[in-house]
Amino acid sequence: VPEGFKPGPEETLLVEVGRGDARAFEALYRRFARPLMAFLTTLTGDATEAQDLVQETFVRVWRAAPRWEARGRASTWLFTVARHAASNWRDQRRVRQTAVARAEPRPGTTSVERTELPAALERSVQDLSEPLRTAFVLARLHGRTLAEIAEIEGTAEGTVKSRLAAAEAALRKALARHVPPHPKAAS
């Protein structure tokens, strides 16, 4: 149990879901569907797959919520469930597509209307290895703490720190031309 942790509204909601409350389930979905969609889209690089995984995540949540105990953040558990769903998806895809080194994003994942920077950001994140990508996305795009990421990833906080530093360095290199110049260097 995280130090000083007290169950909040999200944890209460999840407990209600565990009791079979359909309204609570819908409220939980409204609260977390978009963050998880963002997380899974970035993780998979495929909007259609991410939609399926969001669905699978919440199906798992509905079924497993009766066994969830409010000893940690509901959000951390939801991201963990989503992470496992994505992991299974990746394993299955690996079996299906052994000949394909890396699946190309489906149409709709990247849009020609997008400006160059957002597309470059998305592309560079996709190019990271999965452990680095997951840690970075959770930290930078979802504001998760080191402890939460460690729990979601099932690893140590030190490992998460290392992954974040490695991800940041790789991304900065990939996006070098987009990083604004240092004020002193520019002047």
Binding site: G20, R30, A33, N88, T109, R172, K184
Partner: protein
């Protein structure tokens, strides 16, 4: 005083706002004392600021789609109804029995004809279905009729409990275990009369009846053990991809006696010795005991207390069907309530082969500890 130079990992964590206050203060001090370090930190921060422009995600799927898949009924229903039916993952529709199906604040005055079996969703266990009550299974679930007939409904199946001796399968597929005695399954495509047997009825595309044990009469045809009626013709069943099959797989002497009613763990080693993958149903049927049924000297042993933690440690995802590749072995641990452990135990497994080819054999060993 020179502050220690933070390593790159700590610097990145600081820029991401992930450090606790003490560590953050230490890094702040180091940055103040070291302009080169501050420049390095600023570059990381500028890079991280770019992600404000990260593309917005696509829309998640509609809640109704997710709810339907999860077996949650529409939340607009009255709370008590929604709670009950969502938990049950079934719709029990109107008719004479509807009042019996709603959670009542008063004790029920008569026993329902059938009960839903399963404790994996709270509120679902023991929900009653009266005469005329209808069950629509959005996920596989088990129904006991009059305490004697076991029905495993596949996801998508719709069934009405007509009486203790008759059900009407309107849609989908269901597996039946009927002890000796008359029983009838009526369907829109013909009736199946039973005299004690185990069989599957599938009305998804015409009437198909697959018999495991015993015999049934379907229209003018008699279908025997190991046979399948489809397209009006009876032929050897083989093992049809996606169909339920139950096979006795083991008969053992319990290694030691335990007190009746005691909770014991049963370790099962599943091994697929066949050449094709073997799929056993997912947690819905695991939870209802339909996956593996144990019969001990005291009768049917309830296997619904699957120890998920241990099952998970055995490599199982409780939310997915268990797929055993060819020659693959897995261990799963059940926690069961035993009426008595002395004497012979019979174990049978319900499974669905994935491919067209038959599964050659499988073995299960049992250990009471």
């Amino acid at each position: 005083v020179n502050a220690p130079r933070p390593d790159p990992e700590t610097l990145t964590a600081h820029a991401l706002g992930l450090l606790a206050s003490a560590e953050r203060a230490a890094v702040d001090a180091a940055l103040a004392a070291d302009p080169a370090l501050a420049a390095e930190h600023a570059e990381i921060a500028r890079h991280l600021a770019l992600y404000e422009e990260f593309p917005a995600p696509p829309e998640p799927p509609a809640f109704s789609r997710v709810a339907a898949t999860a077996g949650v009924t529409h939340a607009a229903w009255p709370p008590y109804w929604a709670r009950w039916s969502a938990a049950a993952a079934v719709f029990l529709l109107a008719g004479a029995g509807a009042a019996m199906l709603l959670p009542s604040r008063e004790p029920e005055r008569r026993e329902p004809l059938a009960v839903l079996v399963g404790d994996h969703v709270p509120g679902r266990e023991g929900a009653g279905v009266a005469a005329g009550g209808r069950v629509e299974a959005l996920v596989p679930l088990e129904l006991r009729i009059a305490g004697r007939v076991r029905v495993v409904l596949d996801g998508g199946a719709g069934l009405t409990v007509v009486s203790a001796d008759e059900v009407r399968l309107e849609r989908g597929r269901a597996y039946f275990e009927v002890p000796p005695g008359a029983f009838r399954v009526s369907t829109p495509r013909g009736d199946v009369a039973v005299l004690g047997t185990t069989f599957e009825v599938d009305v998804r595309t015409g009437l198909a009846v697959t018999v495991d044990e015993g015999r049934v009469r379907a229209g003018k045809s008699v279908v025997g053990a190991g046979e399948r009626l489809a397209d009006g013709k009876v032929a050897p069943a083989g093992e049809i991809a996606g169909a339920f099959f139950r096979r006795p797989v083991l008969s053992v002497e319990a290694p030691k006696a335990v007190e009746p009613g005691a909770s014991v763990h049963v370790s099962l080693v599943l091994e697929n010795r066949g050449p094709t993958p073997l799929e056993v149903p997912g947690p819905e049927t695991v939870a209802t005991g339909a996956l593996l049924s144990l019969t001990g000297p005291g009768g049917q042993v309830e296997t619904r207390g699957l120890d998920f933690a241990q099952a998970l440690s055995g490599g199982f995802d409780p939310l997915r069907p268990i797929v055993l590749g060819s020659r693959e072995r897995r261990v799963v641990v059940f926690r069961v309530q035993v009426p008595s452990s002395a004497g012979s135990w019979r174990l049978s497994a319900l499974y669905r082969p994935q491919g067209e080819a038959a599964v050659a054999s499988e073995s299960v060993s049992l250990e009471v500890r």
